[in-house]
Symmetry: C2
């Protein structure tokens, strides 16, 4: 299990990776990062999930909130607001702005996002090889109710509108019903350079407790990636982001509902499916569901899944690698 | 003298304008700002002279240094340096960055610089109408000696290279000989919307104690502006930026040498010339040169020209308006 491939969203994936690096310090870890959450703000290209992985593993993360930079200030944002330029609901700090400025400048100079990400990682030295899922533009949109004149964001007259995932997630706090989640552009996107090669060379593929719809699901929506993982012939193991029928953090249940998946550990495993997923870890409070998952053809075990600290997270990573070894031996 | 038109560079022009607004609170002041110092940094469009006027008159200037924002922080710049992204010699603060982000975003959306400047001034309410000299790209370059392998920036083997004005002025601190000053693109530039109209409607045109080569000179290099001023049929009065054979601040003498003009109050007046300039104010220490200027066909008077505070500056503005009235009556 020397070469480990992880499909990662933001906070959950990044924290899991920190545990994985402690659990397997000798491993070569390649991370395929979700870019469906990327957004252009103030003319700058912002890649929240890539940055969260980079900052978390590089020691620059704001530990308390799990995203953004430590010791952050907000002078730029305050000034933009003074100019009447928003959105104000997206919290870009001054240190974070520098990352987006460098990225945007490199993209404008013609470098693909994968090359830009590599350059940014030269500074952060995250200890993993971080690849965006694609260099092409993919933007996750969420279909919500259109305003019906009642003054609320979502009306009830059946008309719908699509909003950027960040608007749904951050501005609306996922507090309105999501009818569909659409990774716009994914069908035309190609895996970034190195992605398919990394999958082919992996000894194990891990789905961390990231959002199964808008994080891991979006990565899998890039044509070629799901197929390459299914065909790689190596164990594919996942860790449930749902504990006790609720997301550990965030609002994964809202987007699960949009794709018709129950917010339970077992339902998420079935959503990935036995054609893709070989093994699944659920939390000890969901031990009841082990039999249900195994009945679906997916090896399953119940272990503590709360990433309370790096050591607890490392223990989760060890359990994932252990069950992967069992899959391989089976 | 209700409608006053001022051609302005950065610090000197901005401070003069503050005095002018005190001296003539009822006047309608239009400022044509130099954009030859503009530079793209970090993918952002920076307009130092326009911003210095806007911040100074809008109450946001760093009073001590005369440019940039008060209460400034430098988190973005520090982070850019941590990414290895420079130049480090250009001091953009966090608050200042916001201005450049808004400007760049609006330009990218297709608005011309004049419209962007108007939008930025909506916030700052500078009390003047601020127009860039042109919406087209003009970039002042300075011809210096090319490196000769000695390790110095400027060698002595006769080879030359052109650097951006900001590189000459800020990075090299004008410490190497300037052989020529070239407003690249000026010959193809058109006056920004409103510029020629403002000149035609002015009751008086004022050259503040801005740099006669790289500030006022660059504005005059935009085809149509010099001619419109000469043909306006209203008094054109200037205030010497040279006192006692040295620039009051900055390094105007270096660029005057590049265009073959002595660093004296009288020589600058002759450089503008009687075909353009009707009246000229020199400092009292240069009272000797009044006769020389008048011999060149330019009305002249010696008054205190140190902008030590707003009231002293207002007094300079009053002297300029007074001599303009004399020109008109003559």
């Amino acid at each position: 299990m020397r070469r480990i491939l992880v499909l990662s969203g933001g906070i959950g994936g990044a924290r899991f990776l920190r545990g994985l690096l402690r659990a397997a310090p000798e491993a070569e870890v390649t991370v395929i990062g979700n870019t469906g959450d990327d957004i252009h703000l103030f003319g700058l290209k912002v890649c929240p999930d890539l940055d969260t992985v980079m900052y978390t593993l590089g020691g620059g993360i704001h530990e308390g909130q799990g995203w953004g930079r430590a010791d952050e200030t907000f002078a730029v944002k305050e000034e933009l607001a003074a100019y009447g330029v928003g959105p104000e609901w997206f919290g870009l700090g001054d240190r974070d702005f520098a990352t987006h400025i460098v990225r945007t400048q490199m993209l404008a100079a013609g470098y693909p996002l994968s090359a830009v990400t590599e350059a940014l990682c030269q500074r952060w030295q995250p200890g993993v090889r971080l690849l965006p899922m694609t260099d092409d533009r993919v933007e996750t949109h969420v279909l919500i109710d259109a305003p019906d004149g009642s003054g609320n964001d979502g009306g009830a007259d059946g008309r719908r509108r699509a909003v950027h995932f960040q608007e749904y997630w951050v501005r609306l706090r996922a507090a309105v019903p999501a009818h569909a989640v659409v990774p716009v552009g994914a069908d035309q996107a190609r895996p970034a350079p190195g992605v398919l090669e990394a999958i082919a060379e992996a000894d194990v593929v891990v789905f961390p407790p990231s959002n199964p719809v808008v994080s891991v699901g979006t990565i899998l929506a890039v044509p070629g990636i799901r197929e390459a993982i299914a065909d790689a012939g190596v164990p594919v193991v996942g860790l449930s982001p749902i504990i006790g029928n609720a997301p550990v953090r965030g609002m994964a249940d809202k987007v699960l509902a949009a794709v018709g998946v129950e917010a339970t550990a077992a339902a998420v495993a079935r959503h990935y499916g036995p054609g893709l997923l070989d093994a699944w870890l659920v939390d000890t409070v969901d031990a009841d569901s082990v039999a249900e998952v195994e009945a679906a053809g997916i090896r399953c075990r119940a272990v503590p899944l709360l990433m309370t600290d790096t050591e607890a997270t490392a223990e989760m990573a060890r359990a994932a690698l252990t069950i992967a070894t069992e899959v391989k031996a089976a």
